[in-house]
Amino acid sequence: MSKLGVILSKEFRQIIRNPAIIRLIFIMPVIQLLVLPNAADYEIKNINLQVTDHDHSALSRRLIDNISATGYFKVIGYGSDRNQAMVAIEKDKADLILEIPHNFERDLIREESARLMLAVNAINGVKASLGGAYLNNLLRQFNGDIRTEWLQPDRLQKPFSITTTFTNWFNPGMNYKYFMVPGILVLLLTMVGMNLTAINIVREKEIGTIEQINVSPIKKHHFILGKLIPFWVLGLVVLTIGFLIARLVYGIVPLGAYWTIYVFAAVYLLVILGMGLLVSTFSATQQQAMLVSFFIMMIFILMGGLYTSIDSMPEWAKWITRINPVTYFIEVMRRVVLKGANLGDVTKELSIILGYALLVNGLAILSYRKRS
């Protein structure tokens, strides 16, 4: 058996015997893919609406029924006391207050105009602004509806209105899971790959076996390859489990070819494992390695375009996303899964990741020293 073969057989044996690793690579994809796509959703639902109705007319009740029928709003309180509504917002129970003034119906009929007040709890900025916008939209629609009803007999005066019809490309059902699942798969691969590699090598440092290896004539690249290959294989196993879940649970089948994703993942894993290796060469204990790789992953994940849109980031932050390998893989993953991109369409990303892999692993080999 070659020296590399000797190391590989030892590493694989140790991985198989480590119940923590086996649990991690099977349970982590399952939990993450079952929980996150259902919980992490950009759509704002369950906006808590407090209604203060001073009018108590047929029209005001119809307006409220309209709002609650959309499913986006939860009317958590209804009354005619303004203070009670303010308390609800202060206690963070309400996100929005809709105040319907006295004579709302009368003014609307007689003077053809009426005023409503909308107070927004802006602590959760996204929820507040999106909720405000939804409600505004609803009110406009409501307005249009009643005007057409009343003006029905006089057809000449029917107001102009522009209606927009949407066609959703690539994700016709606007299903957020289609958007989230490919991204979560990338995160899984990143977390499993970096952590396992970093911890594995530092563990050899901790128990002292690395010295035994360093006094042997084994070549640096043999040792490093022997460490990387098993986790590279594990990474691809995790990806496969992830795709199985995506298919069985969410019915997500990539529009493009699986092998396009696997080719990209194979190169991407080299970057991530190389980073784990780099972390391990600079860490003396497993805790240290964990903390450092956790820190790196936090930034990678938050700035990878899964949870926040890169397009709306400031210019300097976009720069960070450009050196973040996670960004490229999420982008490629979505393109292949949703748009059916093939390898030719992602050559730019692939070459960037390949360059990254060479750089990171080159650094890792240079910084791994057998002698101090």
Partner: protein
């Protein structure tokens, strides 16, 4: 040079301002059992790590097996065995898997490994435990196994860093039998220890105090020179001069 297994000439290792090993000079002959004594923090392990190619000397000259420690580091590695203070086998691999791994990274063929492993395990009376995980063996057995693994690839020199730490007296005696057997096969043994009775088993011993070698002689010569009856007293007299505490 040919009959010298290890040579050191003003070998020094500094960590910043701290001089761990301070200009030590000595020679070890082939086939010798050389005891390297000293209190904790005296610099024994640091010196040994320089010979094994784990640590780069700050200054001085040293050769191991005729190879220069600066430029022929990788050649040295082919001709030495090393057993560190810390237990260095894999607990989650079986006895035979540990042997296969360590022999394999020295490039031994599967067949040679199989033949030799059988012989070694018989000697250690570990044949029945061959497929047991090393983690489940008692410490004494682990240490004897670790020594056998360290010399499995038939090195010319073996470095042992406190190999019998925490082991019971019976096992220690068995361990030294293994060392004698290895020396009988022509392997040079370089060993550090805290046990002064073990020092008596060595052909020659050196005593390190505060990074320097304070005495170097045969155990008998050393006792005669100091006018005391045991190595213990020799050690106490010399080590008492130490100003450095454990680092």
């Amino acid at each position: 040079m040919q009959d010298r297994a290890i040579t050191a000439e003003k070998l020094t290792k500094k960590f910043g301002d701290f001089t761990a090993v301070d200009q030590i000079s000595f020679e070890v002959s082939k086939g010798e059992i050389f005891g390297f004594l000293g209190a904790n923090g005296a610099g024994k392990t640091t010196a040994m790590r320089m010979f094994c190619g784990l640590s780069l000397p700050t200054s001085g000259v040293a050769t191991v097996g005729g190879f220069d420690v600066y430029s022929e580091n990788e050649k040295i590695k082919n001709s030495i065995g090393y057993m560190s203070q810390r237990f260095s086998l894999y607990d989650d691999l079986s006895v035979i898997e540990n042997i296969r791994f360590y022999a394999g990274i020295y490039g031994m063929s599967s067949k040679a490994i199989r033949v030799k492993a059988e012989h070694i395990l018989k000697g250690l009376e570990l044949e029945a435990e061959k497929n047991m995980l090393v983690g489940s063996l008692p410490l004494g057995w682990k240490q004897k196994l670790a020594f056998s693994v360290a010399i499995f690839h038939e090195p010319r020199i073996v470095f042992l860093d406190e190999p019998t730490g925490g082991v019971d007296p019976i096992t220690r005696r068995e361990f030294w039998q293994l060392i004698y057997e290895a020396a009988g096969e022509g392997i040079t043994v370089f060993v550090t220890t805290h046990y002064m009775d073990e020092a008596e088993y060595c052909n020659r011993v050196s005593i390190m105090v505060d990074g320097r070698i304070e005495a170097l002689d045969t155990p008998t010569g050393m006792k005669k020179h100091m006018g005391v009856g045991s190595m213990n007293e020799v050690f106490l007299q010399l080590a008492r001069k130490a100003t450095r505490t454990e680092n």
